[in-house]
């Protein structure tokens, strides 16, 4: 029983992490058809920010690092993506690849290609014992923070004036402008939210691995991208759902596979992803209204 609960906590924790990552990608795709592969470098920037800020009072350090990532995301929009905003999705995609490599190489120039270790998040490393169930504090904090962020984001998108404008822009950007939605502002908000998610997810990644390298964000963004596709490109609910599903499947294979096959866990996860896409090519929650534009 305790084992099952521990596994469940693991699965929810991994799933929450994936959901945060996927939301950051899905948000921008929804608004401006951009699959931002440089999202991984936002995670990396957050990671190095924690390295540089080491020694600061931990909560403040986390907040400052997240703020740095948000600013980096806004700069990405302003410098790299704004000039090509009217171009087609392919141009945006290639731009994001270029930006991703550029930032990785800048990181190599500044920090070198070897991982930098950091104690950020070590305060969360201890496990706690709740009625015989041993769970890590990191997992619990991650689940609580990710849950709160996801709920807040959903409420903003569903209920607020800003959220209505974002959904309108996601469905028909040109028409949204004709009805007064400020294009620069709504895209900047999208980048800022995406940066916030990357900042938080980046912190938890650093806390889990204890080190940062220039390619720190690459595998995370791949998972996020897969979750976004499986969820149905552009669907925020789909991204969250698929993020959690990927987390559960990953932990399930981790536990259920015979010991000799565990190193190939991700191959099994991706096989499930492939199967899902064969059965539901539009993703779990298809975005019918936008299909023609993609």
């Amino acid at each position: 029983m305790e084992d099952a609960i521990q596994l469940l906590v693991d699965a929810v924790s991994v799933g929450a992490q994936y959901a945060l990552l996927a939301l950051g990608i899905a948000l921008l795709f929804g608004i401006m058809n951009l699959i931002n592969f440089a999202y991984g470098e936002l995670l990396m920037i957050g990671g190095y920010a924690l390295v540089v800020l080491a020694g600061m009072w931990a909560p403040l350090m986390v907040l400052v690092s997240i703020a740095i990532v948000v600013v980096a995301a806004l700069l990405m929009d302003r410098i790299a993506f704004k000039p090509v905003r009217r171009a087609d999705a392919t141009t945006l995609l290639v731009t994001s690849f270029a930006l991703s490599y550029l930032l990785q190489n800048v990181a190599i120039m500044i920090f070198g290609s070897l991982p930098e270790t950091t104690g950020a998040g070590s305060g969360l490393a201890r496990s706690i014992d709740i009625a015989g169930v041993v769970v890590s504090r990191l997992d619990l904090v991650l689940i609580a923070v990710a849950g709160a962020l996801i709920v807040a984001l959903v409420l903003i998108v569903k209920r607020t004036a800003l959220g209505i404008q974002m959904r309108a822009a996601a469905e028909d950007f040109e028409m949204a402008r004709l009805i007064g939605v400020n294009a620069d502002r709504i895209i900047a908000v999208g980048f800022a939210m995406s940066g916030l998610l990357a900042g938080v997810a980046g912190y938890f990644l650093v806390a889990q691995t204890g080190s940062v390298s220039p390619t720190f964000g690459v595998s995370a963004v791949l998972i996020a991208f897969i979750a976004t596709i499986v969820g149905g490109l552009g669907s925020l609910r789909g991204a969250v759902l698929a993020g959690f599903a990927l987390g559960f499947i990953t932990i399930a294979f981790q536990e259920l596979l015979p010991a000799g096959l565990v190193p190939y866990r991700d191959a099994f996860v991706f096989a499930v992803v492939l199967l899902t896409l064969v059965l539901r090519p539009q993703g779990l929650i298809p975005q019918t209204a936008r299909a023609a534009r993609v």
């Binding site: 028909d172 028409m175 007064g180």
Partner: protein, 236 residues
Amino acid sequence: MLEVDGLTVAYGRVEALREATLSVGEGELVAVVGPNGAGKSTLLNTVAGRHRPRAGAVAFDGRDIVGAAPERIVGFGLALVPEGRHIFETLSVAENLRLGRMAGRGRTSAEDVRELVARRFPVLERYADTPAGRLSGGEQQQLAIARAMAAKPRMLMLDEPSLGLAPLMVDAVFELVVQLHAEGTSILLVEQNARRAVSLADRSYVLRSGRIVREGRREELLEDFEQMTSAYMGGG
């Protein structure tokens, strides 16, 4: 109120609009008619800020609006209901209207919009929480116009509002245009349904191959409608 002077718009090397000059006065209903591809939509889209003209001037309320972003132009009180309606299908009817109200930057309250809908768009009332994509074509067209009117624009531009609607809905949409005009909204109406548009409008322009080939008051144009028919049917 709206002054378009020598407007030339090109897509690449093809000129879709050539030195078009027209005006819409305060409270006036003006129609622009002409065959498919004559440049009618280009005219409205350029005035609304979606295309940058190659030459010419557009002034709204004496203010030069060439090159202004679409979201700024609608903020000035000049609203476009584009061809094909473009309502937000995944948003509810109420959310579509709320977006329209936001475009008015405080000119209208939620109460004003409720009253507008009750008075002019009663079919929409019972659909408040329905995704707009589920409405019929005619209802969607009414929503598109209601959304624009929710901002209380000083002038409304309608691009082919009757296109693709059942005959009864066409009547309803034209009736709506007449009512909005009667209430004092300045309207620039673009239509392929030439005879109908001309008979509603105070004045009309005939556009052919990107040029304005005829202009006149309702009586003048209806009188020689036969010639006008040949002007817009013939040649192309």
